[in-house]
């Protein structure tokens, strides 16, 4: 049959044009505008003067940018791998259950994920508040000195990472469960016929076959946690915001508190590049690891 390629291209174009229009309007255009903005001294709203690379060069010597950058890195280290690990362990546990019991346990682990961040903040503030937090009364009973968890730099990031894992691991558990169910039962049957131990079974069968899901979960987590804002913002209200800064928080501060749209855009561009670089690196690393297996 003769194919009218021109016609087909035309039809294809017509079919994808709504997507292209929306994508262009809501992603490409704002991104270009943001990069443009980052070279000006614009306030939050309205145009500004062209200042070249000024907004970028001054980031190098800025204390707040420094804090924000390292805090973000620290938070990612505290949440991505541990979060993935916790989710995998829970998923392995849940997958051993069956029927209603499994549904119930899964629901319990998934429950925090459906909470809005403000509720998560309230829950944990009530638990860990220095004067009235429930945990502090437990500390008193055990004779441990009370710790102002969200007001010290030592405990702030670990605590926020813990809360984040508690809050978001439900979704990763679901992904892992789906991955586990995709592994054919025959492989396990064959292995048990060979008298394989449980650990070997995990190391030789589950872990390699689950690898694509693990790679997916870490990548999702990585991108998500690089963009951390809500929890840090809420937990540091009134506390020590400038010591707890993360990159998105710093963008917020520059744009909405200091009214410096141009400088905020420069940080946003830097974060954008970091996310791109880190995700590509992560993806390559995962592929490399897969090939070595």
């Amino acid at each position: 049959m003769l194919r009218n390629t021109r016609r087909e291209t035309l039809v294809a174009l017509v079919l994808i044009s709504p997507f292209l229009a929306i994508y262009g309007l809501t992603f490409v255009y704002p991104t270009v505008a943001m990069v443009n903005l980052s070279f000006t001294d614009a306030p939050l709203i309205g145009p500004g003067q062209w200042v070249g690379l000024d907004n970028y060069t001054r980031l190098a010597g800025e204390r707040r940018f420094d804090t924000a950058f390292w805090n973000t890195a620290y938070f990612v280290a505290l949440s991505v791998i541990p979060g993935t690990f916790v989710a995998m362990v829970i998923a392995l546990g849940v997958s051993r259950l069956t029927g209603r019991m499994q549904a119930l346990v899964l629901a319990l682990f998934f429950l925090p994920y459906i909470l809005p961040v403000s509720v998560v903040y309230r829950l944990w503030d009530w638990t860990l508040n220095f004067q009235f937090g429930i945990a502090m009364y437990v500390f008193d009973i055990w004779g441990i000195e009370r710790v102002p968890i969200f007001k010290t730099t030592t405990w702030f990031m670990p605590a926020v990472a813990f809360v984040t894992i508690w809050w978001t691991c439900g979704f990763s558990i679901l992904l892992f469960l789906a991955g586990l169910r995709a592994i054919p039962a025959e492989i396990y049957e064959a292995a048990s016929l060979d008298n394989t131990g449980r650990w070997t079974m995990f190391r030789r069968i589950t872990w390699p076959l689950l690898w694509p899901v693990t790679a997916l979960v870490t990548t999702i987590q990585l991108i998500l946690q690089l963009k951390i804002f809500d929890q840090v913002y809420l937990f540091s209200t009134g506390g020590r915001p400038n010591d707890n800064l993360v990159l998105v928080y710093y963008i917020f501060q520059r744009a909405f508190v200091n009214n410096q749209g141009g400088r905020a855009a420069a940080i946003a561009v830097v974060l954008f590049l970091i996310v791109v670089i880190v995700s590509v690196l992560n993806f390559q690393l995962m592929r490399l690891a897969e090939r070595r297996k």
Binding site: P43, L44, I45, G46, E62, R63, R64, N129, F130, Q131, F132, P148, K151, T152, T237, G238, G239, R240, P241, N242, D243, Q253, F256, V257, N258, N259
Partner: protein, 420 residues
């Protein structure tokens, strides 16, 4: 032809007149009053609407206080969706003017409202004035005050016969009062919002003011001995922490709870908590309490205050709506005696000099502090929830809780302020 035109215009004119006669002018109103004062403001709005039925209706929306409110105002002005009237902190006006968010209140406007400079305290009038022009109509001033539990103070023997705390005129005297309370078994003589540096800015700024210090002089932060004055202020508060005289790592709600539950005998907080105390006391759930001007810790009296004012957003506005908005502002000020039950000190002079106001407690006890009020420095960087707040908070919290040396904190603060 001509005839037709004339008839047309007459009909058009008639049409206009009838709409003017029938339609109510709707005044879109935004505020950030979410607490006990918000309840009282709603009552005032209802009264206004009832009194102006058929002419003007206020359509009020309450939004989240702080950065969210001011960001929304800014974006709404930019796209022409701003309200007709909004509450505004006087301390935020310098920033607002630099962002072109506010419409000037002209001399004609003041005349229309029947208000003028003479009706306000000079510090308050000055707070809404930028380069000789006014950008808002002050509704109140809301300073911080010292709340105290009369029963606990009396039990510790530190309540005067007039029913106010002893030792209010010196650092030594006030510290003695707190020590007496501590010796008498009070857990926290002073409940302080030590977990919230934003809030403590008010207290610390007052103490800097009590030494005649300034935060910004000639556009520079903490010049000359002002850095030392801030250090002194922080040192006093840190000493209280080290002696166990004030609560540590306490956030705002916890501080109020410590005071109302009797675990803290005194508390430095805004006058906006007056309704909380009044309502609790009326319900029989609170001890006898009082509120006075802050103690004089250094050599002169000074108390931080801000002002809730009414502002009109920049942008086109039809004359009818503007007239209605002016009427709203004028009415609110002239009826602001009721607003005083929210703790705030009405800005409109004729109200505060009235006999009814003089009989109101505890307002009458702390009202004399109006003479010693200091407002935020006039800078786009200052003001509630402004850029300075985050810097201060970051170093106030560790210092107030005894983890950072005051002099070191001030050094860091200066570096960060200059990094903005």
């Amino acid at each position: 032809m001509t005839n037709y035109k004339v008839t047309g215009s007459v009909m058009l004119l008639a049409g206009f007149m009838s709409t003017a006669a029938q339609a109510e002018v709707v005044v879109e109103w935004w505020d950030f009053l979410g607490g006990g004062d918000g309840v009282r403001m709603k009552q005032l709005i209802d009264e206004f609407n009832a009194e102006h039925a058929g002419d003007i209706t206020i359509q009020a929306t309450t939004l989240e206080w702080g950065v969210p409110f001011y960001t929304k105002v800014q974006t709404s002005v930019a796209v022409g969706e701003a309200p007709d009237i909004m509450t505004y902190h006087a301390s935020r006006i310098p920033l607002a003017v630099s962002q072109n968010v506010l419409s000037e209140i002209t001399a004609d406007d003041w005349a229309t409202m029947g208000l003028g400079e003479g009706d306000f305290a000079s510090a308050t009038w000055d707070a809404v004035t930028i380069d000789g022009a006014q950008y808002a109509v002050p509704l109140d001033t809301h300073p911080i005050v010292l709340y105290y539990n009369k029963e606990l103070l009396s039990a510790a023997g530190v309540l005067t016969d007039d029913g106010v705390p002893m030792g209010m005129d010196s650092l030594e005297g006030f510290t003695e009062t707190m020590r007496a309370l501590q010796a008498n078994g009070v857990k926290f003589p002073l409940g302080s919002v030590t977990a919230d540096g934003n809030f403590m800015f008010r207290t610390i700024y007052s103490l800097v003011g009590q030494q005649g210090g300034e935060l910004i002089s000639d556009g520079e932060f903490l010049t000359g001995d002002n850095a030392e004055k801030l250090t002194n202020a922080l040192a006093v508060l840190q000493d209280w922490t080290n002696e166990g005289l004030q609560s540590t790592y306490t956030d705002y709600p916890a501080t109020v709870a410590l005071f109302t539950s009797g675990e803290a005998a005194m508390m430095i907080n805004g006058v906006w908590e007056v309704p909380t105390m009044t309502d609790l006391n009326a319900a029989g759930n609170l001890f006898e309490w009082g509120a006075v001007e802050l103690p004089m810790i250094f050599d002169q009296r000074a108390t931080y205050a801000d002002s809730h004012s009414f502002a009109i957003p920049a942008g086109d506005m039809d004359p009818e709506t503007r007239a209605a908005t002016l009427e709203v502002m004028s009415w609110m000020l002239k009826n602001s005696l009721f607003w005083a039950t929210a703790g705030h000190i009405p800005a409109y002079g004729p109200v505060t000099s009235s006999a009814e106001y003089a009989a109101m407690e505890p307002n009458a006890t702390y009202s004399p502090l109006t003479a010693n009020m200091i407002f935020d420095p006039k800078s786009p960087l200052a003001g509630v929830a402004g850029p300075i707040f985050d810097v201060m908070s970051t170093y106030f919290v560790p210092t107030l809780n005894g983890e950072m040396d005051p002099a070191e904190a001030v050094e860091e603060i200066i570096i960060e302020l200059n990094d903005m």
